[in-house]
Symmetry: C2
Subunit: 430 residues, 2 copies
């Protein structure tokens, strides 16, 4: 018996899902074991969307999602509305009705993890969300299945195409942040209001999902320390590259060591020779370190209708197969438990740092700064000074130290009379 699905939210990704179901039906049917039929499509602009008729000509069109979640014939609901409001109702009501759910909604999954998965478990429904992180790159599945025997030591991700596009343009072409942002907007890689991307919130939600999967425990977004890329000065990218061979990326990093979980999003320098430094423009990449598999990296387009649809369809195929074979109730839910995770305070996080001091040009300045660093247990690894216009910034990289030491040192240094403006601080990762 064909699997009847209902699609709620028919924007770019939803339309790509319909298109691919229409274009590759044999391929999908082979993998499911039966046909997939789109019974109902819900969108508030449903009557304006001409392509729906092209790709799903027999579908019922509605602007009321209740027609989908209350339809007993529909066993699989695809939620592509996004955001927190109606999307949450669609997902929760579908699960409560025992329907399987596929969603690409990172905000919803990251924010309501426990509520969603406890409901899924209670009603023996499955919910999958491959496209919520890195679109068509099957990294969710890799954490759930392919790396299932590993203790995950760390996750390092370039998870947001907008910020990576901006940093790539700044690094490659020497553009300012403002003009790189404009270029990204023009190329369709940044929204008119880019706040969620450039402030790191999008990366934080995706890192929350990956970390929750890796540690079988909800890692809530608000437990993740977060800095965005607004206001990054291109001179730091330029000199870090020329003098230290470093490239700046907005990284989302989670590490687990000594019983403590450390998780943060921040602009971070990595060596130019590192695989991840080659992830450029709108691409995403995730490096997962497992105790058995070692370093495994996943790379691909992190956005775009077809790429996200590829991820959504892998969920649909998996869920539909379980409907056809009546195995959905037997499949395990996403692993999670509510035991307490110990989070490492950001002050205790250890790493190397890149610092740029803006000071008056006078003898003894470097001595004062290095003195203040030393007093706070920050040891200099390399250092150079270069006149740029009327200022003579001092660039420093440090040996490994705690974030708390850096903060104390900065609090002290930024108050010295010789210092003209706030010191720039970036993390460096191996």
């Amino acid at each position: 018996m064909p699997v009847k699905i209902g699609l709620v939210g028919c924007g770019t990704v939803g339309m790509s899902v319909l298109k691919i179901l229409h274009t590759n039906p044999g391929l999908i049917e082979d993998r499911v074991g039966d046909k997939i039929v789109v019974k109902t499509v819900c969108d508030k602009r449903v009557n304006e969307l001409e392509d729906i008729k092209k790709y799903a000509k027999d579908a019922i069109l509605t602007d009321d999602y209740k027609k989908i979640v209350s339809d007993p014939e529909i066993s699989l609901v695809v939620e592509l509305v996004g955001g927190y409001t109606i999307a949450k109702d669609v997902v929760m009501e579908s699960l409560r009705a025992g329907k399987q759910v596929a969603t690409a909604n990172k905000a919803l999954i990251a924010t309501y993890w426990n509520e969603i998965f406890s409901t899924a478990k209670k009603y023996k429904a499955l919910i999958y969300f491959e496209a919520s992180v890195a679109a068509g790159v099957p990294v969710i599945q890799a954490l759930n299945e392919g790396l299932a025997a590993n203790r995950i030591e760390s996750i390092t991700g370039i998870l947001n195409g907008t910020t990576n596009y901006i940093l790539s343009a700044m690094s490659r072409d020497g553009k300012s942040f403002a003009s790189a942002l404009k270029e990204a907007q023009k190329a369709g890689f940044a929204e008119a209001d880019p706040t969620l991307d450039i402030e790191g919130h999008d990366t934080k939600q995706k890192l929350s999902i990956l970390s929750s999967l890796a540690y079988d425990n909800w890692v809530p977004p608000d437990k993740i320390y977060c800095e965005g890329i607004t206001g990054i000065d291109v001179i730091d990218l330029k000199f870090a590259k020329e003098e230290f061979g470093l490239t700046l990326k907005l990284l989302g990093v989670t590490k687990f060591a000594n019983g403590k979980l450390e998780s943060w999003v921040r602009p971070t320098f990595i060596q130019e020779t590192h695989m991840m430094s080659r992830i450029e423009n709108e691409y995403n990449g995730i490096l997962i370190k497992g105790d058995a598999a070692g370093d495994v990296m996943f790379y691909g387009r992190g956005a775009g209708g077809d790429a996200a649809a590829s991820g959504v369809l892998s969920d649909i195929i998996y869920l539909a197969r379980n409907v056809v074979h009546e195995t959905a109730e037997k499949m395990p839910y996403v692993m999670y438990n509510e035991r307490k995770l110990n989070f490492l305070p950001i002050e205790d996080s250890e790493g190397e740092y890149f610092l740029r001091f803006t000071t008056v040009d006078r003898p003894g300045v470097l001595a004062k700064i290095s003195g203040a660093l030393g007093e706070n247990n920050v040891s200099i690894a390399s250092c150079f000074q270069r006149a740029i216009g009327s200022t003579v910034p001092i660039f420093v990289t440090t040996h490994k130290t705690k974030e708390g030491n850096i903060r104390k040192a900065m609090a002290c240094i930024d108050n010295l009379p010789i210092v003209r403006s706030k010191t720039v601080v970036y993390r460096i990762e191996d």
Copy 2:
């Protein structure tokens, strides 16, 4: 009820499997839904292997695999013998007994694809083989599941750690092939008899598996054109890098276009800026181009006991879960059918080429060579000449042309009296 497994072949990978089952049991049990118990271990040296007792103290030890395949209590057989002989009996007899099978045996899977999967289908048993390609990197699963909705346009793989280690050493350190091979042997990345690796056969088997999965059809290894890396001269690596920005990799490539499948293994130049040029030493990488997902790349350690065990254990977890939930009979087999695939003859394969001519040092030589190239529809993209010792090789890159044209041109050029030795020919890929 715990899932009882039998392990046949307890070398490096087998021992790592036992070790991880012993170390991470809770993590694995959570994902399976019940315990996994190693009931029997078979190896011809089983009584010499002290660590078995450490990791699986209650296991029955035997040197007779029949004790495993004929044991009705054992529902899952792990075959890690390798090769074609006893391994084939273990796999086929297990499937015929309705047992689930996990194997890392690339040679067996690639060579007996149809026989293995038709038997599995007939006896409603599942066989998985994640570790057969790129060890712990979950690329088999990605083709089977994560990219399931995509038509695969191409697969490009660096699939063999030995050859990649050798080429990396030659490229980075200017080592000769012979001394790079010795270094690889010393570092444990090449066997005493390295033939299977350096002649490309190992890559060919892995490419056969990936291609068969991608096209739901057996792509037999002997349909794959294959050249190894023996005899590569370091001057080609040096000048291709300096003059054309190219890096040499042993690539396995399968493409599908216009109803025809093209599949080959050969040393191939790629641009230094290409993601895959950064895959160095013993690492593996696979770039899959799907019509929806676009370019997706997977990267990691392609060998090593723990890395391969990570792949084998992901199969074990998947299979054991299906045993626990009694869903194994309902899960789809690896998709395959026996409809005819059209293979593109290697002569019709199109690409750019790197050529090195060794000629006498005399006026008019370049004119003769470029004339012969032109007559065979090979057009020069760039060219340079440099005295190296007593010879003056001419390095040429071509525009896109057919392999057949290159071969005709070489047959002609290599017979010219001005040519001192056989022209060196490498493919260049985008």
